[in-house]
């Protein structure tokens, strides 16, 4: 028996159902909308939430970029891209500015997103309050009542214990002064990019069956205190060893031969673009060290 799959894998009814949940998410920024998450040909926890959003939205004219940990070519990005192109035949790109849909795991591209673009973030744990409240029924109530003292207390205790907010990635953010949201495990470095983003940002959690959104130009503030401000990861005096970029999120690498630590751009397509532009002699970027 041989079976042809529908355009974008799903049957049209499923796609419409996911889009309905997405519309609700856009209408209530930061609110987690439950949806009937489908099982995908890619494993739960590997981006099925993002994948379902992308597949439900994609049209024949879309241009897709997929990144994982900042890289267009990492295992999972390649796999997801392959599945989407196989079932849609659409064009893919590495350049963030060229893409209409960018699906990403754990990063927001360095190049600022534009209006009309959609950023789809893959979310493993959509519930920002799960850390201190294991029950779904309870966290739903806490959100309904805007009862976020647990989240503040969590940060306060971290400051008391460690002298810093030890959230790592996925630092909770307040959306439109109403819902506390897990921004997906993007580094704190990327949190400010959510605020007043020109692009629509959709977040999909397949296993947890939730969709939520940051519509364009929405206020998104990382949780912090008046006397203890939010801090991004520090790459002070560090720069990319390949293209020389500063002020970007860097990967820390260990040189096999010398045993020295060096850094390079985490956003690989950004790095490559800088190198290309430099070799083309356009000199747009002149901060090379």
């Amino acid at each position: 028996m041989r079976i042809e799959y529908n355009f974008a894998f799903f049957d049209e009814g499923s796609k419409r159902e996911i889009r309905r949940a997405t519309l609700k998410a856009v209408a209530i920024p930061g609110y987690q909308v439950p949806f009937a998450s489908r099982e995908m040909p890619i494993a739960r926890g590997w981006g099925t939430g993002g994948l379902q959003l992308t597949l439900s939205l994609v049209g024949k004219k879309d241009i897709l970029k997929v990144i994982d940990q900042g890289s267009d070519e990492s295992v999972n990005a390649v796999n997801i891209k392959k599945l989407i192109t196989k079932t849609t035949g659409i064009k893919v790109t590495d350049e963030a500015s060229e893409a209409t849909i960018i699906q990403s795991r754990h990063r927001i591209p360095e190049i600022p997103l534009q209006s009309g673009q959609i950023l789809v973030l893959q979310v493993p744990l959509p519930e920002p309050l799960r850390y201190y409240e294991p029950s779904e029924l309870e966290t739903k109530k806490l959100h309904a009542e805007q009862e976020y003292s647990g989240a503040w207390l969590m940060l306060f205790e971290q400051i008391m214990n460690y002298g810093t907010m030890s959230t790592g990635a996925d630092h909770p953010a307040m959306v439109h002064d109403r819902y506390v949201m897990a921004p997906s495990p993007i580094p704190r470095f990327d949190n400010p990019k959510l605020n007043h983003s020109k692009a629509l940002i959709l977040l999909g959690a397949g296993r947890e069956k939730k969709v939520y959104a940051v519509p364009p130009y929405t206020r998104v503030e990382s949780l912090a205190f008046e006397d203890f401000s939010f801090e991004v990861e520090s790459f002070k005096n560090k720069y990319c060893g390949i293209c020389g970029a500063k002020g970007v999120f860097l990967d820390e690498m260990l040189d096999d031969l010398t045993g020295e630590t060096f850094y390079q751009c985490n956003d690989t397509s950004y790095c490559l673009q800088r190198l290309n532009q430099e070799s083309a002699g356009r000199g747009i970027y002149n901060d090379r060290v």
Partner: protein, 364 residues
């Protein structure tokens, strides 16, 4: 400075996929679907049950592709299931109409309709049968022919598709509280995600598609010490149930307009739990409460464990994890648990870098 590639993942992935194919084929033999369907009945039943997709042929294909890994086979079938438009719901199935192949009750020595052992591993010694090494197709065919002749002389007149339920006997005596027939449309967990507190229809759906090992383990935990009593199997039956869908062309849902679309083999279990009930003015009585388990195919351990968990979730004693619906229902799905565990193999260097930064800051 050492060389660090910016690009280069695609080719490595292609090679890994090729290597996987090599592992499947390297011994130079190819499994036929028919062989899997013929000889791996229990694996097929397990995979169909966890997949919520009843097709022996598709299950056999998935098992072949997955090289026999149940978690992979279930994964394939669930993903395939997502591509199928769902056009009909079946009519309500009455399990009394089961064409019974096996039926036992451990509550009574004899039950109306009789104990029917059918096919089961329960009565075998688990000794490896080295003779299977020499088994041939011809011998198998001859044996089956002889067996058919032998069972043909059976004069038993019992109608196996109309056996009374063991529990009816207790119900008539008033030992099981009567319950009204609930004709509410069940919730469909594949069309709407779980919300808590759940309905019983949602619970039963999640339990029946749960990973066999996970359902068994949690059922065992409840049985051993975390919150259930020792139940008695009122009745365990295995057999085929006919499935009908309403005619899309008639508004009246008359029986004769319904279409027969096939039959499914299921294991159905009703277990009995003695429970104390208050009868006003401080008086107490003991009645039996029921746990219900059902799943595709012959999956007896899973069905019994499901019936235990069904009872636990109905009781909902906050002291015990197997009574906590979020604890049980959100963690027993094969695709979800294996997926999230396996995602740990994905690169996490961005989140790790972020954590590293926090750790370093805390050391300053």
């Amino acid at each position: 400075m050492g060389y660090v590639a910016v690009k280069g993942g695609i080719q490595a992935i292609e090679e890994s996929i090729k290597r996987l194919k090599y592992e499947r084929l390297k011994k130079g033999t190819v499994l036929k679907f028919q062989e899997i369907e013929g000889g791996m009945r229990c694996l097929i039943d397990q995979v169909m049950s966890e997949s919520s997709l009843y097709s022996e042929t598709l299950a056999a294909m998935a098992i072949k592709q997955a090289e026999g890994s149940p978690e992979e086979a279930v994964f394939l079938l669930r993903a395939y299931r997502s591509t199928l438009p769902r056009k009909h719901y079946s009519r309500t199935v009455q399990s009394e109409e089961m064409s019974v192949e096996r039926r036992i009750s451990s509550s009574f020595k004899e039950v109306p309709g009789g104990q029917i052992l059918g096919a089961a591993n329960d009565y075998t010694h688990r000794l490896i049968d080295f003779d299977l090494n020499e088994e041939t197709d011809d011998e198998a065919i001859a044996w089956v022919r002889e067996y058919a002749l032998e069972s043909g002389v059976d004069n038993d007149q019992t109608d196996l598709s109309d056996l009374p339920k063991t529990l009816d006997y207790l119900r008539e005596e008033g030992l099981i509280p009567t319950c009204e027939i609930n004709n509410n449309e069940p919730d469909d967990v594949t069309k709407e995600s779980l919300h808590f507190p759940t309905s019983r229809s949602q619970r039963l759906q999640i339990l029946t598609r749960g990973q066999t090992g996970a359902v068994t383990s949690l059922g065992y935990a409840a049985l051993r010490s975390y919150g259930a009593l020792h139940p008695t199997v009122g009745e365990l039956r295995i057999g085929k149930l006919p499935i009908y869908v309403n005619s899309p062309f008639h508004d009246q849902k008359e029986d004769e307009d319904a279409y027969y679309i096939g039959e499914i083999k299921v294991t159905e279990v009703e277990t009995l739990f003695p429970a104390e009930v208050q009868k006003g003015k401080g008086e107490k009585e003991i009645e039996f409460e029921i746990g219900y388990g059902i799943c595709y195919g012959q999956n007896e351990t899973k069905a019994i464990a499901m019936s235990i968990l069904d009872r636990c979730l109905e009781t909902g004693n906050p002291e015990y994890p197997p009574h906590n619906e979020e604890f049980v229902l959100l963690h027993i799905d094969s695709v979800e648990s294996t997926g999230f565990i396996s995602h740990l193999k994905l690169p996490h260097y961005v989140t790790f870098q972020s954590k590293l930064d926090s750790v370093r800051k805390s050391k300053k």
